[in-house]
C-alpha cells in the first residue's frame, strides 16, 4: 500500500472511532449526510452525549496532522498530476458530485480537512454546540462517503484531504498573507467606492457609516468591479441579509450593514491569499463551487488559466448530469489511462488566453458543453456506423446460417475459386463481425458512453 494511503487509512480510522456508532444511520441518497447532521444534532439527550464524547476529537486531529502533514504535502507535491485545491464552504454541498465533475478533467481533488477546520472555527468563536455538531457530522460523512475513492489503489490519488487553514500557517507567512489581503481589500474598496484610503481600518470605518443597504448601494461608484449578484440591488441586499444572518448564527457581533459588507470583502481577500498560498504549496490550481469566492480569486489573479477555468466551469449547474456517472467509473477512467483523452475532448477550442478573458466562465462553460455534445455525437455516430457494418456482414452470412448452403455465397473474384478459399472468406467475415461487435461493446461500455447515459438520464 502507498504511504499516503496508509496515512488516510489512519485518518478514516479516527473518523470511525468517533462516529462509527452512528454511521448505520447514513442512508444511500445524496443528501443523507446533511440529513444525518441535522437529525443527530436534534437527537434529544444523545446529541449531548455525542458532544461530550467527541470533545477530544479536535485534540486528536491536531495531533494527527503535525505527524502526517509534511509527508502528505510532499507526496502530493511530488505527484506529477493536475491537482486542484478546493476553496468554498467547509466541504462542497455534495462532495461526491463535486468530485465527479472535477475528476472528469483533473487528476486530484484536494479538499481541506473538515474536522480540522471546524475544530479551529469552534475554538475561535462561540459556535452554538448543536450547530457545530450538525456541521461536523454533515461534513465528516460527506467525506466518509468517498472513503473508497480516497483509499483507491490508483497511481495518482484522486481525492486528497489536507490540513488547509489560515491558522496553521506560520506567523511570518501569516503576517505576509494578511498584509497582502489588507492591501488588496483597500484597493478594491477604494476603486468600488471611489475613495483614497491607505489602511483597512479607515476603509472599514468609511463603510461602517452606511447603516442602510440602499445608501450603501448608492455609494458604489464602479459597478463593473462587482460580482454579478452585487450588480442588482435586490440580489445585493438579499446577499447582505444572508451574510448578516450567518454572522448571528456564529454569535458574531454585527454592526452596520456597511461595516458587515466591509468585513465580508476583507474576509474574501484573506481567503484568496490563503487559497493562493496552499495552491502554491502543492503546485495545484484553485477550484470553487461558488461564483462569489471564484470572482475574488479571479479578480486577484486577473483571470485563471485554462485548466483551472475548465475545472471550475464543470461545476456549473448545466453539468449537474455528470453526477449521474457512477463513482467507480472514475476509477476505471484512470485505470484505463483515458483521462488524457477526456481532457483533449474538453480542451477543444479553449486556451489560456480565452479562459483568462472569460470572467464569469460563461464562454468556457458553453465551449465545454459544445465539446461534450460533439464528443457524444461522434461516439453515437461511431457506434451507429459500426452497427451498420455488422448489419452488412450479418446480411452476407444469412445464406450460410439459414440455408446452410455455399451456393451464392462464394464471392466471384476470379474464374477459379476453390471451396477452402470460400470457407476462409466466411471465416474472415465471421472474425470481422466478432471484432466489430467487440468494438461496439467497448464503445458502449467506455467512459464517453457512460457520460452519454448520464446525460440522457437527466
Amino acid at each position: 500500500m502507498k504511504e499516503i494511503n496508509k496515512i488516510y487509512e489512519h485518518y478514516f480510522d479516527i473518523i470511525d472511532s468517533y462516529f462509527g456508532s452512528i454511521k448505520n444511520y447514513l442512508e444511500d441518497d445524496k443528501y443523507s449526510h446533511i440529513d444525518l447532521g441535522m437529525n443527530i444534532a436534534n437527537y434529544p439527550l444523545v446529541s449531548d452525549l455525542i458532544l461530550d464524547a467527541i470533545d477530544d476529537l479536535g485534540t486528536e486531529i491536531m495531533q494527527f496532522w503535525p505527524e502526517n502533514s509534511k509527508t502528505v504535502l510532499s507526496l502530493v507535491k511530488e505527484q506529477d498530476s493536475l491537482k486542484c485545491v478546493y476553496s468554498g464552504d467547509i466541504t462542497p454541498v455534495i462532495l461526491e458530485d463535486f468530485v465527479k465533475k472535477s475528476l472528469l478533467y483533473i487528476d486530484t481533488v484536494i479538499i481541506p480537512d473538515p474536522i480540522l477546520n471546524l475544530t479551529i472555527l469552534q475554538s475561535q468563536i462561540a459556535l452554538d454546540k448543536k450547530y457545530y455538531l450538525s456541521k461536523l457530522v454533515r461534513h465528516v460523512f460527506n467525506v466518509w462517503k468517498l472513503k473508497d475513492l480516497a483509499l483507491a489503489d490508483i497511481e495518482k490519488n484522486a481525492l486528497v484531504i489536507l490540513p488547509i487553514n489560515f491558522n496553521i500557517v506560520n506567523e511570518d507567512d501569516k503576517n505576509k498573507l494578511l498584509l497582502d489581503a489588507y492591501k488588496r481589500f483597500i484597493n478594491y474598496a477604494n476603486d468600488v467606492f471611489g475613495q483614497k484610503f491607505d489602511n483597512e481600518s479607515d476603509s472599514l470605518i468609511f463603510l461602517g457609516k452606511y447603516n442602510d443597504a440602499k445608501k450603501l448601494y448608492s455609494g458604489i461608484k464602479q459597478f463593473n468591479l462587482l460580482p454579478n449578484i452585487f450588480k442588482k440591488f435586490d440580489t445585493f441586499e438579499e446577499f447582505l441579509m444572508h451574510w448578516i444572518d450567518e454572522k448571528r448564527h456564529f454569535q458574531l457581533e454585527t454592526k452596520t450593514v456597511g461595516w458587515d459588507f466591509g468585513e465580508y470583502l476583507l474576509s474574501q481577500f484573506i481567503r484568496v491569499q490563503e487559497h493562493k498560498f496552499f495552491c502554491e504549496k502543492v503546485s495545484g490550481e484553485p477550484i470553487y463551487d461558488y461564483d462569489l469566492p471564484y470572482f475574488f480569486f479571479s479578480y486577484e489573479m486577473g483571470g485563471l488559466d485554462m485548466d483551472a477555468s475548465i475545472a471550475i466551469a464543470l461545476q456549473k449547474e448545466k453539468f449537474k448530469w455528470i453526477a449521474n456517472v457512477p463513482l467507480p467509473a472514475l476509477k476505471i477512467l484512470r485505470e484505463e489511462n483515458k483521462l488524457e483523452y477526456m481532457r483533449s475532448i474538453l480542451r477543444k477550442g479553449i486556451t489560456d488566453l480565452k479562459a483568462k478573458r472569460d470572467e464569469d466562465l460563461l464562454r468556457t462553460s458553453e465551449q465545454l458543453e459544445k465539446n461534450l455534445k460533439e464528443a457524444f455525437e461522434e461516439q453515437e455516430e461511431e457506434i451507429a456506423s459500426l452497427e451498420r457494418e455488422v448489419a452488412v456482414i450479418t446480411k452476407k452470412e444469412i445464406p450460410i446460417q439459414t440455408a446452410g448452403s455455399m451456393v451464392g455465397f462464394i464471392p466471384v473474384i476470379g474464374n477459379y475459386i476453390s471451396i477452402p478459399f470460400a470457407f476462409r472468406s466466411i471465416l474472415d467475415l465471421l472474425n470481422q463481425r466478432k471484432e466489430i461487435t467487440q468494438k461496439i461493446e467497448d464503445k458502449k461500455t467506455d467512459f464517453i458512453n457512460l457520460l452519454i447515459k448520464s446525460y440522457k438520464e437527466e
Binding site: 472511532s17 468517533y18 452512528i22 437529525n39 437527537y43 444523545v46 461530550d52 464524547a53
Partner: protein, 236 residues
C-alpha cells in the same frame, strides 16, 4: 430516521471507552459498564434463555458507592440486556439517567486524578443534569451561617421539636472554621439558605472549598437527586 436510544447511547459510550483505553490501558470505566462486562463474561457458559448478572461498585468494601447490577439474558440470536439496576437506590436506571451518568463520567474524566473540588463537582453535575440544580456554597459559607442564625432567631427554621442540630449550632463558636462544622449542620445551613444565593438551585454542596471529593461520590449525588428518596421533591 428512527433512532434506538439505548443502543445508540451505549455504542457511543463504548466507543468513548475504547478510545480512553487506547490512550490509557489502565482506564477504569464506570461501574455500570464494568457490571455489564462482568455479566457478558458469564454469558458464554449460559444456556439459551438463561439470565446472567454482573455486579460492580466503587469505594471500599465498608463504604460502597455506586453499586450496579446488570442482568443479561442469552438468546438464540444474541444477548438481551434485561435490567440495569442501581443497588443503592434499588431502582432500574432509565435511559435518560443512564445517558446523564455516561456524560458525568466523561466530564469527570477530563479532570485529572480520582478527586475533584466541590466547585468542579457542581460544574459537572450542572452540565449533565438540566436546569442548574446544584450550587457550591464555597466562600459564601459565612454569609450562609449568618443568614441561618437570623432565620433561626426569627423562627423561620422549622425543625422537629428538640432536634439536636439547633442546640449544636448554638454551641459553635463564631470563629470555628467551616471544616470543623459537622456534616449534618453544614447541610442544614446550606439547604436552608440556598434560595438566597441561587434561586434555581435545588441542592447546596456545602463541602468546604479546599476539601477534595472522590469522583464516585459525585455520581452518588446525581443518582440520589435523580432516583433517590429526595428525587420526588425535585421533579420538574
Amino acid at each position: 430516521m428512527e433512532f434506538n436510544y439505548f443502543n445508540d447511547a451505549m455504542k457511543i459510550y463504548l466507543d468513548y471507552i475504547s478510545r480512553q483505553f487506547k490512550k490509557n490501558p489502565g482506564y477504569m470505566p464506570h461501574p455500570l459498564i464494568r457490571a455489564l462486562t462482568n455479566a457478558m463474561q458469564g454469558i458464554e457458559a449460559a444456556k439459551d434463555g438463561e439470565n446472567v448478572s454482573g455486579i460492580s461498585f466503587e469505594g471500599t468494601e465498608n463504604n460502597i458507592y455506586e453499586p450496579y447490577m446488570v442482568i443479561v439474558q442469552k438468546k438464540k440470536d444474541g444477548i438481551e440486556i434485561k435490567e440495569i439496576l442501581n443497588v443503592k437506590v434499588e431502582k432500574q436506571i432509565p435511559i435518560d439517567v443512564m445517558i446523564m451518568i455516561f456524560r458525568l463520567q466523561i466530564h469527570l474524566d477530563k479532570i485529572n486524578g480520582g478527586t475533584v473540588s466541590p466547585q468542579q463537582s457542581v460544574d459537572a453535575l450542572n452540565e449533565v443534569i438540566p436546569g442548574n440544580k446544584f450550587y457550591a456554597l464555597g466562600d459564601k459559607w459565612k454569609e450562609a451561617r449568618d443568614k441561618f442564625a437570623k432565620l433561626l432567631n426569627e423562627g423561620k427554621i422549622h425543625l422537629p421539636p428538640n432536634d439536636p442540630k439547633i442546640e449544636e449550632f448554638k454551641q459553635i463558636d463564631n470563629n470555628t472554621p467551616w471544616e470543623n462544622y459537622p456534616n449534618r449542620l453544614r447541610a442544614l445551613i446550606g439547604g436552608s439558605t440556598l434560595k438566597y444565593f441561587d434561586k434555581k438551585a435545588k441542592i447546596a454542596i456545602t463541602t468546604p472549598k479546599n476539601v477534595r471529593v472522590e469522583k464516585y461520590k459525585v455520581f452518588d449525588i446525581a443518582i440520589e437527586f435523580l432516583l433517590g428518596k429526595i428525587s420526588k421533591h425535585f421533579k420538574p
